[in-house]
Amino acid sequence: MRYLQRAVLLIGLPVLLLAAWWFGSAGSEDFYRPSLSSIVDAFGQTWTWEMFQQQVFPSLWRLVVGYLLAVLVGVALGVLIGTFRSVRSLLEPVLEFLRAFPPPVLVPVAILLSGIGDRTKILVIVFGCVWPVLLNTIEGVRGRDEVLSDTCRSYGITGSLRLRHLVLRAASPQIMTGARQALPLAIILMVISEMMAANEGLGFTVLQFQRGFQIPEMWSGVLLLGVIGIVLSLLFRLAERSLLGWYHGQRAGQREW
Protein backbone atom coordinates (compact mmCIF):
# COMPACT_ATOMS: atom_id res chain seq x y z
CA MET A 1 0.00 0.00 0.00
CA ARG A 2 2.72 2.44 0.97
CA TYR A 3 4.71 1.56 -2.14
CA LEU A 4 1.67 2.26 -4.25
CA GLN A 5 1.22 5.60 -2.54
CA ARG A 6 4.83 6.51 -3.18
CA ALA A 7 4.61 5.47 -6.80
CA VAL A 8 1.52 7.62 -7.31
CA LEU A 9 3.26 10.57 -5.67
CA LEU A 10 6.36 10.09 -7.84
CA ILE A 11 4.80 9.68 -11.26
CA GLY A 12 1.24 10.89 -10.70
CA LEU A 13 1.72 14.49 -11.73
CA PRO A 14 3.97 13.87 -14.76
CA VAL A 15 1.49 11.28 -16.09
CA LEU A 16 -1.38 13.68 -15.46
CA LEU A 17 0.39 16.53 -17.25
CA LEU A 18 1.32 14.39 -20.24
CA ALA A 19 -2.23 13.07 -20.46
CA ALA A 20 -3.59 16.60 -20.31
CA TRP A 21 -1.24 17.64 -23.12
CA TRP A 22 -2.07 14.55 -25.19
CA PHE A 23 -5.85 14.86 -24.94
CA GLY A 24 -5.94 18.65 -24.74
CA SER A 25 -4.00 18.97 -27.98
CA ALA A 26 -5.69 16.04 -29.79
CA GLY A 27 -7.14 17.17 -33.09
CA SER A 28 -5.58 20.60 -32.68
CA GLU A 29 -6.30 22.94 -35.59
CA ASP A 30 -3.74 25.52 -34.48
CA PHE A 31 -0.86 25.36 -36.96
CA TYR A 32 1.72 26.42 -34.36
CA ARG A 33 0.45 24.18 -31.58
CA PRO A 34 0.21 20.74 -33.16
CA SER A 35 -1.20 17.76 -31.27
CA LEU A 36 1.21 15.80 -29.10
CA SER A 37 0.51 12.68 -31.16
CA SER A 38 1.72 14.40 -34.34
CA ILE A 39 4.82 15.63 -32.48
CA VAL A 40 5.57 12.09 -31.35
CA ASP A 41 5.09 10.84 -34.93
CA ALA A 42 7.43 13.54 -36.19
CA PHE A 43 9.96 12.64 -33.52
CA GLY A 44 10.18 9.07 -34.72
CA GLN A 45 10.47 10.09 -38.37
CA THR A 46 12.91 12.97 -37.82
CA TRP A 47 15.42 11.70 -35.32
CA THR A 48 16.68 8.63 -37.11
CA TRP A 49 20.05 7.04 -36.44
CA GLU A 50 21.40 8.76 -39.53
CA MET A 51 20.17 12.11 -38.27
CA PHE A 52 21.83 11.45 -34.92
CA GLN A 53 25.11 10.71 -36.64
CA GLN A 54 24.96 13.78 -38.83
CA GLN A 55 23.48 16.42 -36.54
CA VAL A 56 23.28 15.30 -32.93
CA PHE A 57 26.56 13.52 -32.20
CA PRO A 58 28.78 16.31 -33.60
CA SER A 59 26.94 18.77 -31.32
CA LEU A 60 27.29 16.54 -28.29
CA TRP A 61 30.94 15.92 -29.12
CA ARG A 62 31.68 19.66 -29.12
CA LEU A 63 29.69 20.07 -25.94
CA VAL A 64 31.56 17.33 -24.09
CA VAL A 65 35.02 18.38 -25.31
CA GLY A 66 34.38 22.04 -24.54
CA TYR A 67 32.92 21.32 -21.13
CA LEU A 68 35.67 18.94 -20.04
CA LEU A 69 38.35 21.31 -21.27
CA ALA A 70 36.71 24.13 -19.31
CA VAL A 71 36.69 22.03 -16.13
CA LEU A 72 40.31 20.99 -16.66
CA VAL A 73 41.55 24.51 -17.30
CA GLY A 74 39.43 25.92 -14.49
CA VAL A 75 40.76 23.44 -11.93
CA ALA A 76 44.40 23.81 -13.03
CA LEU A 77 44.33 27.60 -12.97
CA GLY A 78 42.24 27.60 -9.81
CA VAL A 79 44.79 25.50 -7.92
CA LEU A 80 47.59 27.76 -9.12
CA ILE A 81 45.81 31.01 -8.26
CA GLY A 82 44.37 29.69 -5.01
CA THR A 83 47.78 28.59 -3.76
CA PHE A 84 49.61 31.88 -4.18
CA ARG A 85 48.26 34.88 -2.39
CA SER A 86 49.93 37.50 -4.60
CA VAL A 87 48.76 35.84 -7.81
CA ARG A 88 45.26 35.91 -6.37
CA SER A 89 45.46 39.62 -5.52
CA LEU A 90 46.84 40.37 -8.97
CA LEU A 91 44.26 38.43 -10.94
CA GLU A 92 41.08 38.55 -8.87
CA PRO A 93 39.67 41.84 -10.25
CA VAL A 94 40.43 40.77 -13.83
CA LEU A 95 38.70 37.45 -13.24
CA GLU A 96 35.69 39.12 -11.63
CA PHE A 97 35.45 41.38 -14.66
CA LEU A 98 35.77 38.55 -17.18
CA ARG A 99 33.26 36.44 -15.32
CA ALA A 100 30.70 39.25 -15.40
CA PHE A 101 30.36 39.06 -19.20
CA PRO A 102 27.22 37.21 -20.25
CA PRO A 103 28.86 34.25 -22.06
CA PRO A 104 26.60 34.40 -25.16
CA VAL A 105 28.31 37.63 -26.29
CA LEU A 106 31.37 35.45 -26.86
CA VAL A 107 29.71 33.93 -29.88
CA PRO A 108 29.97 36.98 -32.16
CA VAL A 109 33.57 37.59 -31.03
CA ALA A 110 34.56 33.99 -31.59
CA ILE A 111 33.00 34.08 -35.06
CA LEU A 112 35.04 37.19 -35.86
CA LEU A 113 38.25 35.61 -34.61
CA SER A 114 38.00 32.06 -35.88
CA GLY A 115 35.09 31.57 -38.24
CA ILE A 116 32.27 29.09 -37.76
CA GLY A 117 34.13 25.79 -37.43
CA ASP A 118 34.27 23.30 -34.57
CA ARG A 119 37.14 25.20 -33.02
CA THR A 120 35.03 28.32 -32.57
CA LYS A 121 32.22 26.50 -30.85
CA ILE A 122 34.50 24.57 -28.53
CA LEU A 123 36.36 27.79 -27.73
CA VAL A 124 33.10 29.53 -26.89
CA ILE A 125 32.09 26.73 -24.52
CA VAL A 126 35.51 26.66 -22.84
CA PHE A 127 35.63 30.39 -22.42
CA GLY A 128 32.06 30.64 -21.17
CA CYS A 129 32.19 27.72 -18.74
CA VAL A 130 35.63 28.15 -17.24
CA TRP A 131 34.70 30.97 -14.81
CA PRO A 132 32.39 29.21 -12.37
CA VAL A 133 34.84 26.30 -12.17
CA LEU A 134 37.85 28.58 -11.78
CA LEU A 135 36.38 30.86 -9.12
CA ASN A 136 34.92 28.01 -7.09
CA THR A 137 38.21 26.09 -7.25
CA ILE A 138 40.07 29.13 -5.94
CA GLU A 139 37.63 29.31 -3.02
CA GLY A 140 38.00 25.59 -2.37
CA VAL A 141 41.79 25.67 -2.42
CA ARG A 142 41.81 28.66 -0.09
CA GLY A 143 39.29 27.26 2.34
CA ARG A 144 40.85 23.91 3.10
CA ASP A 145 41.27 22.75 6.65
CA GLU A 146 44.44 23.87 8.44
CA VAL A 147 44.65 20.76 10.58
CA LEU A 148 44.77 18.63 7.43
CA SER A 149 47.49 20.85 5.97
CA ASP A 150 49.46 20.50 9.22
CA THR A 151 48.94 16.76 9.11
CA CYS A 152 50.43 16.62 5.61
CA ARG A 153 53.42 18.67 6.69
CA SER A 154 54.04 16.59 9.82
CA TYR A 155 53.88 13.31 7.97
CA GLY A 156 55.97 14.44 5.02
CA ILE A 157 53.14 14.23 2.49
CA THR A 158 54.31 16.54 -0.29
CA GLY A 159 54.37 17.02 -4.04
CA SER A 160 51.94 15.17 -6.25
CA LEU A 161 50.69 13.01 -3.38
CA ARG A 162 49.70 16.18 -1.54
CA LEU A 163 48.10 17.63 -4.66
CA ARG A 164 46.03 14.51 -5.24
CA HIS A 165 45.12 13.62 -1.69
CA LEU A 166 44.85 17.03 -0.07
CA VAL A 167 44.51 19.99 -2.43
CA LEU A 168 42.21 18.54 -5.08
CA ARG A 169 40.12 16.37 -2.80
CA ALA A 170 39.60 19.11 -0.25
CA ALA A 171 38.49 21.48 -3.00
CA SER A 172 36.36 18.88 -4.77
CA PRO A 173 32.99 19.93 -3.29
CA GLN A 174 33.55 23.47 -4.55
CA ILE A 175 34.92 22.21 -7.85
CA MET A 176 31.75 20.20 -8.35
CA THR A 177 29.63 23.23 -7.44
CA GLY A 178 31.40 25.18 -10.18
CA ALA A 179 31.04 22.32 -12.63
CA ARG A 180 27.34 22.10 -11.85
CA GLN A 181 26.90 25.81 -12.58
CA ALA A 182 28.88 25.43 -15.80
CA LEU A 183 26.81 22.57 -17.25
CA PRO A 184 23.69 24.55 -18.26
CA LEU A 185 25.97 27.29 -19.61
CA ALA A 186 27.66 24.72 -21.82
CA ILE A 187 24.33 23.59 -23.23
CA ILE A 188 23.20 27.18 -23.83
CA LEU A 189 26.44 27.98 -25.63
CA MET A 190 26.33 24.82 -27.72
CA VAL A 191 22.80 25.57 -28.90
CA ILE A 192 23.14 29.27 -29.61
CA SER A 193 26.53 29.00 -31.26
CA GLU A 194 24.85 26.58 -33.67
CA MET A 195 21.88 28.84 -34.07
CA MET A 196 24.04 31.86 -34.85
CA ALA A 197 26.89 30.35 -36.80
CA ALA A 198 26.62 26.93 -38.28
CA ASN A 199 25.48 24.85 -41.17
CA GLU A 200 25.05 21.72 -39.12
CA GLY A 201 24.33 20.64 -35.58
CA LEU A 202 21.34 20.32 -33.33
CA GLY A 203 20.67 24.01 -32.76
CA PHE A 204 21.00 24.73 -36.47
CA THR A 205 18.64 21.87 -37.41
CA VAL A 206 15.94 22.90 -34.96
CA LEU A 207 16.09 26.49 -36.16
CA GLN A 208 15.89 25.26 -39.79
CA PHE A 209 12.65 23.45 -38.97
CA GLN A 210 11.29 26.67 -37.53
CA ARG A 211 12.31 28.67 -40.58
CA GLY A 212 10.83 26.06 -42.88
CA PHE A 213 7.59 26.02 -40.88
CA GLN A 214 7.99 22.28 -40.18
CA ILE A 215 6.26 22.84 -36.89
CA PRO A 216 5.83 19.25 -35.55
CA GLU A 217 9.48 18.56 -36.44
CA MET A 218 10.50 21.73 -34.64
CA TRP A 219 8.55 20.71 -31.54
CA SER A 220 10.22 17.30 -31.65
CA GLY A 221 13.61 19.06 -31.76
CA VAL A 222 12.68 21.11 -28.71
CA LEU A 223 11.74 17.88 -26.94
CA LEU A 224 15.07 16.32 -27.92
CA LEU A 225 16.97 19.30 -26.50
CA GLY A 226 14.99 18.92 -23.30
CA VAL A 227 15.81 15.23 -23.10
CA ILE A 228 19.50 15.95 -23.66
CA GLY A 229 19.41 18.47 -20.80
CA ILE A 230 17.79 15.94 -18.50
CA VAL A 231 20.17 13.12 -19.44
CA LEU A 232 23.25 15.31 -18.95
CA SER A 233 22.06 16.45 -15.55
CA LEU A 234 21.45 12.83 -14.53
CA LEU A 235 24.94 11.86 -15.70
CA PHE A 236 26.37 14.75 -13.75
CA ARG A 237 24.57 13.63 -10.64
CA LEU A 238 25.95 10.12 -11.02
CA ALA A 239 29.46 11.49 -11.34
CA GLU A 240 28.93 13.72 -8.34
CA ARG A 241 27.66 10.88 -6.23
CA SER A 242 30.71 8.75 -6.91
CA LEU A 243 33.18 11.61 -6.46
CA LEU A 244 31.61 13.22 -3.40
CA GLY A 245 30.21 10.19 -1.58
CA TRP A 246 32.51 10.93 1.35
CA TYR A 247 31.34 14.53 1.51
CA HIS A 248 27.63 13.78 1.66
CA GLY A 249 28.25 10.93 4.11
CA GLN A 250 30.28 13.19 6.36
CA ARG A 251 27.66 15.93 6.32
CA ALA A 252 24.82 13.53 7.01
CA GLY A 253 26.86 12.16 9.93
CA GLN A 254 27.46 15.61 11.37
CA ARG A 255 23.75 16.36 11.30
CA GLU A 256 23.06 13.18 13.22
CA TRP A 257 25.48 13.83 16.04
Binding site: L13, P14, A100, P102, P104, I188, G221, G226, G229
Partner: protein
Protein backbone atom coordinates in the same frame (compact mmCIF):
# COMPACT_ATOMS: atom_id res chain seq x y z
CA UNK B 1 47.91 51.58 22.14
CA UNK B 2 51.07 50.61 20.36
CA UNK B 3 49.60 47.20 19.65
CA UNK B 4 46.47 48.71 18.14
CA UNK B 5 48.48 51.07 15.96
CA UNK B 6 50.69 48.22 14.79
CA UNK B 7 47.63 46.17 14.00
CA UNK B 8 45.94 48.89 11.96
CA UNK B 9 49.03 49.68 9.96
CA UNK B 10 49.63 46.02 9.26
CA UNK B 11 46.11 45.31 8.09
CA UNK B 12 45.93 48.44 5.95
CA UNK B 13 49.36 47.54 4.65
CA UNK B 14 48.18 44.15 3.50
CA UNK B 15 45.00 45.55 2.00
CA UNK B 16 46.98 48.30 0.28
CA UNK B 17 49.25 45.68 -1.23
CA UNK B 18 46.33 43.60 -2.41
CA UNK B 19 44.48 46.59 -3.93
CA UNK B 20 47.67 47.77 -5.64
CA UNK B 21 48.21 44.33 -7.11
CA UNK B 22 44.59 44.21 -8.26
CA UNK B 23 44.80 47.56 -10.02
CA UNK B 24 48.08 46.47 -11.52
CA UNK B 25 46.39 43.31 -12.80
CA UNK B 26 43.54 45.24 -14.46
CA UNK B 27 46.00 47.70 -15.96
CA UNK B 28 48.20 44.90 -17.24
CA UNK B 29 45.16 43.21 -18.76
CA UNK B 30 44.17 46.38 -20.62
CA UNK B 31 47.74 46.90 -21.82
CA UNK B 32 47.95 43.30 -23.02
CA UNK B 33 44.75 43.75 -25.02
CA UNK B 34 46.14 46.99 -26.43
CA UNK B 35 49.51 45.57 -27.42
CA UNK B 36 48.54 42.07 -28.60
CA UNK B 37 46.74 43.23 -31.79
CA UNK B 38 49.38 45.88 -32.51
CA UNK B 39 52.25 43.42 -32.58
CA UNK B 40 50.18 40.91 -34.53
CA UNK B 41 49.51 38.25 -31.88
CA UNK B 42 45.85 38.50 -32.87
CA UNK B 43 44.55 39.97 -36.15
CA UNK B 44 44.01 43.70 -35.61
CA UNK B 45 41.02 43.76 -37.98
CA UNK B 46 39.06 41.35 -35.82
CA UNK B 47 40.45 42.18 -32.38
CA UNK B 48 40.93 45.92 -32.12
CA UNK B 49 43.20 47.34 -29.38
CA UNK B 50 41.68 48.62 -26.14
CA UNK B 51 42.05 52.27 -27.10
CA UNK B 52 40.03 51.85 -30.30
CA UNK B 53 37.31 49.96 -28.42
CA UNK B 54 37.12 52.81 -25.92
CA UNK B 55 36.80 55.33 -28.75
CA UNK B 56 33.97 53.30 -30.28
CA UNK B 57 32.35 53.12 -26.85
CA UNK B 58 32.52 56.92 -26.62
CA UNK B 59 30.81 57.17 -30.01
CA UNK B 60 28.04 54.85 -28.79
CA UNK B 61 27.44 57.07 -25.78
CA UNK B 62 26.62 59.89 -28.22
CA UNK B 63 23.93 57.89 -30.02
CA UNK B 64 20.35 57.93 -28.82
CA UNK B 65 19.71 54.48 -30.31
CA UNK B 66 22.33 53.07 -27.92
CA UNK B 67 20.56 54.48 -24.89
CA UNK B 68 17.21 53.20 -26.11
CA UNK B 69 18.68 49.73 -26.54
CA UNK B 70 20.36 49.85 -23.13
CA UNK B 71 17.13 50.88 -21.40
CA UNK B 72 15.25 48.14 -23.23
CA UNK B 73 17.75 45.53 -22.07
CA UNK B 74 17.54 46.76 -18.48
CA UNK B 75 13.75 46.70 -18.65
CA UNK B 76 13.55 43.16 -20.02
CA UNK B 77 16.02 42.01 -17.41
CA UNK B 78 14.19 43.70 -14.51
CA UNK B 79 10.72 42.56 -15.56
CA UNK B 80 11.86 38.99 -16.16
CA UNK B 81 13.69 38.88 -12.85
CA UNK B 82 10.71 40.33 -10.97
CA UNK B 83 8.27 37.80 -12.43
CA UNK B 84 10.65 34.92 -11.73
CA UNK B 85 11.22 36.08 -8.16
CA UNK B 86 7.57 36.53 -7.26
CA UNK B 87 6.60 33.21 -8.85
CA UNK B 88 9.60 31.44 -7.32
CA UNK B 89 8.92 32.75 -3.82
CA UNK B 90 5.18 32.09 -3.82
CA UNK B 91 5.42 28.62 -5.31
CA UNK B 92 8.54 27.84 -3.30
CA UNK B 93 6.92 28.71 0.04
CA UNK B 94 3.86 26.66 -0.91
CA UNK B 95 5.91 23.64 -1.95
CA UNK B 96 8.21 23.97 1.03
CA UNK B 97 5.43 24.17 3.60
CA UNK B 98 3.21 21.42 2.18
CA UNK B 99 5.24 18.17 2.14
CA UNK B 100 2.58 16.28 0.18
CA UNK B 101 2.59 18.84 -2.63
CA UNK B 102 6.38 18.85 -2.62
CA UNK B 103 6.47 15.07 -2.95
CA UNK B 104 3.89 15.14 -5.75
CA UNK B 105 5.76 17.78 -7.77
CA UNK B 106 9.32 16.57 -7.13
CA UNK B 107 9.62 14.39 -10.24
CA UNK B 108 8.06 17.02 -12.49
CA UNK B 109 10.47 19.66 -11.24
CA UNK B 110 13.44 17.30 -11.61
CA UNK B 111 12.48 16.84 -15.25
CA UNK B 112 11.56 20.40 -16.13
CA UNK B 113 14.48 22.12 -14.45
CA UNK B 114 17.36 20.74 -16.56
CA UNK B 115 15.53 21.51 -19.82
CA UNK B 116 17.77 24.21 -21.31
CA UNK B 117 15.86 27.46 -21.69
CA UNK B 118 17.41 27.98 -25.13
CA UNK B 119 15.50 24.91 -26.31
CA UNK B 120 12.45 27.16 -26.15
CA UNK B 121 13.91 29.64 -28.66
CA UNK B 122 12.27 28.19 -31.80
CA UNK B 123 8.98 27.85 -29.93
CA UNK B 124 8.80 31.42 -28.76
CA UNK B 125 9.83 32.65 -32.21
CA UNK B 126 6.87 30.94 -33.86
CA UNK B 127 4.51 31.87 -31.04
CA UNK B 128 5.50 35.47 -30.38
CA UNK B 129 7.99 36.52 -33.07
CA UNK B 130 11.04 38.70 -32.39
CA UNK B 131 9.45 40.55 -29.49
CA UNK B 132 10.36 41.34 -25.91
CA UNK B 133 7.72 38.80 -24.87
CA UNK B 134 9.74 36.00 -26.49
CA UNK B 135 12.87 36.97 -24.61
CA UNK B 136 10.91 37.34 -21.38
CA UNK B 137 9.73 33.74 -21.62
CA UNK B 138 13.35 32.55 -21.75
CA UNK B 139 14.42 34.87 -18.93
CA UNK B 140 11.57 33.90 -16.63
CA UNK B 141 11.95 30.19 -17.37
CA UNK B 142 15.66 30.19 -16.56
CA UNK B 143 15.54 32.47 -13.52
CA UNK B 144 12.44 30.87 -12.01
CA UNK B 145 14.14 27.53 -11.30
CA UNK B 146 17.10 29.19 -9.59
CA UNK B 147 14.70 31.01 -7.31
CA UNK B 148 12.36 28.08 -6.71
CA UNK B 149 15.05 25.62 -5.69
CA UNK B 150 16.60 28.02 -3.22
CA UNK B 151 13.27 28.95 -1.65
CA UNK B 152 12.22 25.30 -1.27
CA UNK B 153 15.55 24.50 0.41
CA UNK B 154 15.20 27.56 2.62
CA UNK B 155 11.72 26.67 3.79
CA UNK B 156 12.76 23.06 4.40
CA UNK B 157 15.64 24.34 6.53
CA UNK B 158 13.29 25.72 9.21
CA UNK B 159 14.36 24.47 12.63
CA UNK B 160 11.85 21.80 13.73
CA UNK B 161 11.97 23.18 17.28
CA UNK B 162 11.03 26.65 16.04
CA UNK B 163 8.21 25.16 13.99
CA UNK B 164 6.91 23.17 16.96
CA UNK B 165 7.14 26.24 19.15
CA UNK B 166 5.07 28.22 16.68
CA UNK B 167 2.50 25.44 16.54
CA UNK B 168 2.40 25.12 20.33
CA UNK B 169 1.65 28.83 20.64
CA UNK B 170 -1.09 28.45 18.03
CA UNK B 171 0.26 31.01 15.60
CA UNK B 172 -1.89 31.38 12.50
CA UNK B 173 -0.49 29.95 9.23
CA UNK B 174 0.23 33.47 8.01
CA UNK B 175 2.04 34.38 11.22
CA UNK B 176 4.06 31.16 10.95
CA UNK B 177 5.19 32.09 7.45
CA UNK B 178 5.89 35.67 8.52
CA UNK B 179 7.82 35.00 11.75
CA UNK B 180 9.25 31.49 11.39
CA UNK B 181 9.53 30.44 7.76
CA UNK B 182 10.47 33.71 6.12
CA UNK B 183 13.43 34.68 8.37
CA UNK B 184 14.93 31.19 7.97
CA UNK B 185 14.42 31.18 4.22
CA UNK B 186 15.67 34.73 3.69
CA UNK B 187 19.37 33.89 3.19
CA UNK B 188 18.34 31.28 0.62
CA UNK B 189 16.04 33.78 -1.09
CA UNK B 190 18.93 36.22 -1.35
CA UNK B 191 21.19 33.53 -2.81
CA UNK B 192 18.42 32.68 -5.27
CA UNK B 193 18.16 36.36 -6.17
CA UNK B 194 21.90 36.57 -6.85
CA UNK B 195 21.90 33.46 -9.05
CA UNK B 196 18.65 34.43 -10.79
CA UNK B 197 19.91 37.95 -11.53
CA UNK B 198 22.99 36.67 -13.32
CA UNK B 199 21.10 33.98 -15.22
CA UNK B 200 18.42 36.51 -16.19
CA UNK B 201 21.05 38.85 -17.65
CA UNK B 202 22.57 36.00 -19.65
CA UNK B 203 19.19 35.00 -21.10
CA UNK B 204 18.19 38.60 -21.80
CA UNK B 205 21.29 39.08 -23.93
CA UNK B 206 20.86 35.64 -25.51
CA UNK B 207 17.28 36.34 -26.48
CA UNK B 208 18.22 39.67 -28.02
CA UNK B 209 21.15 38.12 -29.89
CA UNK B 210 19.38 35.06 -31.24
CA UNK B 211 15.71 36.00 -31.41
CA UNK B 212 16.35 39.62 -32.31
CA UNK B 213 14.16 41.28 -29.71
CA UNK B 214 15.19 44.91 -29.17
CA UNK B 215 18.14 45.61 -26.83
CA UNK B 216 21.94 45.59 -26.60
CA UNK B 217 22.12 41.98 -27.80
CA UNK B 218 20.35 42.88 -31.02
CA UNK B 219 22.67 45.87 -31.48
CA UNK B 220 25.64 43.52 -31.17
CA UNK B 221 24.15 41.24 -33.81
CA UNK B 222 23.46 44.22 -36.11
CA UNK B 223 26.99 45.55 -35.68
CA UNK B 224 28.40 42.12 -36.47
CA UNK B 225 26.25 41.75 -39.58
CA UNK B 226 27.47 45.12 -40.86
CA UNK B 227 31.08 44.29 -39.97
CA UNK B 228 31.37 47.15 -37.47
CA UNK B 229 33.97 45.23 -35.47
CA UNK B 230 34.83 48.00 -33.02
CA UNK B 231 31.18 48.60 -32.25
CA UNK B 232 30.73 44.87 -31.55
CA UNK B 233 33.51 45.04 -28.98
CA UNK B 234 32.29 48.33 -27.50
CA UNK B 235 28.81 46.88 -26.96
CA UNK B 236 30.25 43.71 -25.48
CA UNK B 237 32.15 45.85 -23.00
CA UNK B 238 28.80 47.40 -22.10
CA UNK B 239 27.34 43.97 -21.33
CA UNK B 240 30.40 43.26 -19.20
CA UNK B 241 29.82 46.47 -17.27
CA UNK B 242 26.18 45.44 -16.79
CA UNK B 243 27.40 42.13 -15.42
CA UNK B 244 29.81 43.79 -13.00
CA UNK B 245 27.10 46.19 -11.83
CA UNK B 246 24.69 43.28 -11.35
CA UNK B 247 27.25 41.49 -9.19
CA UNK B 248 27.97 44.58 -7.11
CA UNK B 249 24.29 45.34 -6.69
CA UNK B 250 23.31 41.83 -5.61
CA UNK B 251 26.21 41.71 -3.18
CA UNK B 252 25.13 45.03 -1.74
CA UNK B 253 21.58 43.74 -1.28
CA UNK B 254 22.98 40.59 0.28
CA UNK B 255 25.04 42.56 2.77
CA UNK B 256 22.21 44.96 3.62
CA UNK B 257 19.55 42.32 4.14
CA UNK B 258 21.74 39.75 5.83
CA UNK B 259 24.00 41.94 7.95
CA UNK B 260 22.94 39.92 11.01
CA UNK B 261 23.59 36.57 9.38
CA UNK B 262 26.75 34.64 10.33
CA UNK B 263 27.64 33.73 6.74
CA UNK B 264 27.89 37.39 5.74
CA UNK B 265 29.90 38.29 8.78
CA UNK B 266 32.30 35.43 8.21
CA UNK B 267 32.74 36.53 4.62
CA UNK B 268 33.57 40.06 5.70
CA UNK B 269 36.20 38.79 8.07
CA UNK B 270 37.95 36.81 5.36
CA UNK B 271 37.73 39.76 2.98
CA UNK B 272 39.51 41.88 5.57
Amino acid sequence: MVAVAARTSRVTGRRFRSVTLGVLGLFGFAVALEVAPRIGVVPIDFAPPTSQILVALGEQFGESSFWTALLQTLRTWAIGLAIAMVAGIVIGVLLGSLPIVRAATATTIEFLRPIPSVALIPLVIVLYGPTVKSTLVLVVYAAFWQMLIQVVHGVADVDPVARDTALAFRLSPWARVRYVVWPTALPYVITGFRLAASVALILTITGELVIGSPGIGKEIDNAQQSNAVRTVYALIVVTGILGVLANLLTRLVERKVLSWHPSTRAEEVTVA
